[in-house]
């Protein structure tokens, strides 16, 4: 029994086993937990708002946005851009 226990512990510290355990953790989080989390009211509301506005919240730079942020007449009406 003691031998089996120490073998399991030794196996858990093997590089490939560690990689498999990490992969399993990622699968559980991304395939089970996160799909469930998006059903939570406040997250679902945020996702809906982003979908309706056609927004890419993960854009790292403006070129990754769904729509280029160009000046619109509405902004020109509100501001004096070049006095």
């Amino acid at each position: 029994m003691k031998y089996a226990k120490s073998s399991i512990i030794a196996l858990a510290f093997q590089p490939m086993t560690k990689l498999l355990l990490w992969s399993l953790a990622l699968c559980i989080i991304w395939l089970i937990i996160l799909p469930q989390a998006q059903r939570l009211t406040f997250i679902a509301r945020h996702i809906d708002l982003m979908s309706q506005g056609n927004v890419n919240p993960a854009a790292m730079y403006y070129t990754e946005l769904e729509k280029l942020p160009l000046r619109t007449p509405a902004v020109e009406q509100a501001l004096v851009l070049w006095p």
């Binding site: 990622l26 395939l31 998006q38 982003m50 993960a58 854009a59 790292m60 280029l68 902004v75 851009l81």
Partner: protein, 441 residues
């Protein structure tokens, strides 16, 4: 630098060869620039909710599996060219290069999950995580080592990125936009850097610079550019990105709520969001809550800040080469020569790409659509893949033990928080002054 320049040139040529014959200068018709045939050869996984396979189809239901596969092919190709230029064995690079491209794809899939995507947890974070898992489990395998050229991928990505950094965008919101970006951003950057170095006495000046730049300019992209300019360690860049993304999520939720609670003018609120929240996507997401005008101002102010990356990276590189690195060596050589000798040459490529594309962009409506087509259709996507693979290499090679003493002191966190508080106060003051009073009709 050479490969990055060639890729931009290729994209510009291909876009020009496929230019539209009618309405070539019509921005309404070609909102994202002229169609670029190279766009069909590169893409990334799309957002998915339940199963990753949903990420293989775009919003119109069209399959993007082939462009994703070809995107990985571009990464391997760029890596092979790099190996050739560096005089290394291409066949030794190939197996590791293919694995890195596959891991890059995995990182993109992790980042594309809807909850993760909508919380602005960008792909560099997941690329680092994937790399860290590999590095801390199976380690650097011998056959993978020749492909672990993260610095090369990041630097090539930065040169390609230069084409997207258009100085002409700086004028998009006139004088109020310029004042908000050009006064507040450099003041916060310099003040927080000095605060970190002289008050908190953080031993690594490059860490202070990277944290200050990602907090004051525009998050991850600024962190990557300045980290390369000041030769920061990969652990320092990883730390700065982690800090930035953590606080971005909080600010993205808290700031629009605060603006609405105090009844702030949406245009002033938008300018404040654009000037303070690090990540571009998070600014647009937060701006949605302020309505059309507020959202537009927020996104445009952020875009102006985005356009400053080139100048800031260049200035940081000059400062580092001429003062920081120089002070650690003999000082009997002329400053100009020393700056040139130590200057990271790829920054010249990055800056030149930015300058050339900015000049081209300002030549007229057709030219601006040409540049947009070349960048949005190809170079922007390729840059994403190169950064992603670069971060995987960084994750594999990262040794957080080196940073543990600095991080456990809590000083980088204090630097970020204090710098961000200063940024919040100055940006609000400038937004209220320019967007709320001086330039308001």
């Amino acid at each position: 630098m050479l490969i990055g320049g060639l890729l931009i040139f290729l994209s510009l040529c291909v876009t020009f060869s496929a230019r539209p014959t009618e309405d070539a200068g019509n921005r309404k018709k070609f909102e994202k620039g002229w169609p670029n045939p190279l766009a069909k050869t590169i893409d990334k996984p799309q957002t998915w909710k339940e199963l990753p396979t949903e990420g293989l189809k775009d919003k119109k239901g069209k399959s993007v599996a082939l462009p994703i596969l070809l995107g990985m092919g571009w990464v391997v190709l760029v890596g092979c060219f790099g190996a050739l230029l560096m005089g290394r064995n291409v066949f030794a690079f190939l197996p590791g290069g293919i694995l890195l491209a596959l891991l890059g794809c995995l990182a993109y899939f992790l980042a594309s999950q809807r909850v993760i995507n909508d919380l602005n947890l960008e792909y560099p974070l997941w690329a680092l995580l994937v790399g860290l898992i590999i590095g801390n489990t199976v380690g650097e395998m011998n056959w993978l080592k020749p492909a672990l050229v993260g610095e090369y991928f990041i630097k090539t990505g930065l040169v390609v990125f230069g084409a997207e950094v258009l100085f002409s965008r700086l004028l998009e919101l006139g004088l109020p936009g310029l004042l908000t970006s050009w006064v507040v951003t450099p003041v916060v950057l310099i003040t927080s850097y000095c605060f970190g170095v002289y008050f908190l006495k953080i031993s690594s000046k490059s860490l202070c610079m990277v944290v200050s730049a990602d907090m004051s300019v525009c998050g991850v992209s600024a962190a990557i550019a300045t980290a390369a300019a000041c030769k920061a360690k990969k652990e320092e860049l990883s730390l700065a990105i982690g800090l930035s993304l953590f606080f971005t999520v909080i600010m993205m939720v808290a700031m629009p709520w605060f603006i609405q609670q105090v009844g702030m003018d949406p245009i002033v609120g938008g300018a404040w969001l654009g000037g303070t929240i690090d990540a571009t996507g998070a600014v647009v997401a937060a701006g949605e809550a302020l309505g059309k005008q507020g959202g537009e101002v927020a996104a445009t102010v952020k875009m102006i800040q985005n356009s400053m990356i080139g100048l800031i990276a260049f200035a940081v590189a000059v400062y580092w080469a001429g003062w920081i690195d120089r002070s650690e060596s003999k000082q009997n050589i002329s400053l100009g020569y020393e700056v040139w000798r130590r200057f990271p040459k790829f920054i010249i490529g990055f800056f030149s790409a930015s300058l050339v594309c900015s000049l081209l962009f300002t030549q007229g409506a057709e030219h601006s659509l040409w540049v947009d087509g070349a960048t949005l259709g190809f170079t922007s996507r390729l840059r994403g893949w190169l950064f992603c693979v670069g971060f995987i290499c960084m994750g594999i090679q990262t040794n957080f033990r080196e940073l543990a003493p600095i991080f456990s002191s809590g000083r980088p966190l204090i630097l970020y928080v204090v710098g961000q508080i200063l940024n919040l106060i100055l940006s609000l003051a400038m937004a209220a002054l320019t967007f709320g009073w001086l330039f308001r009709k």
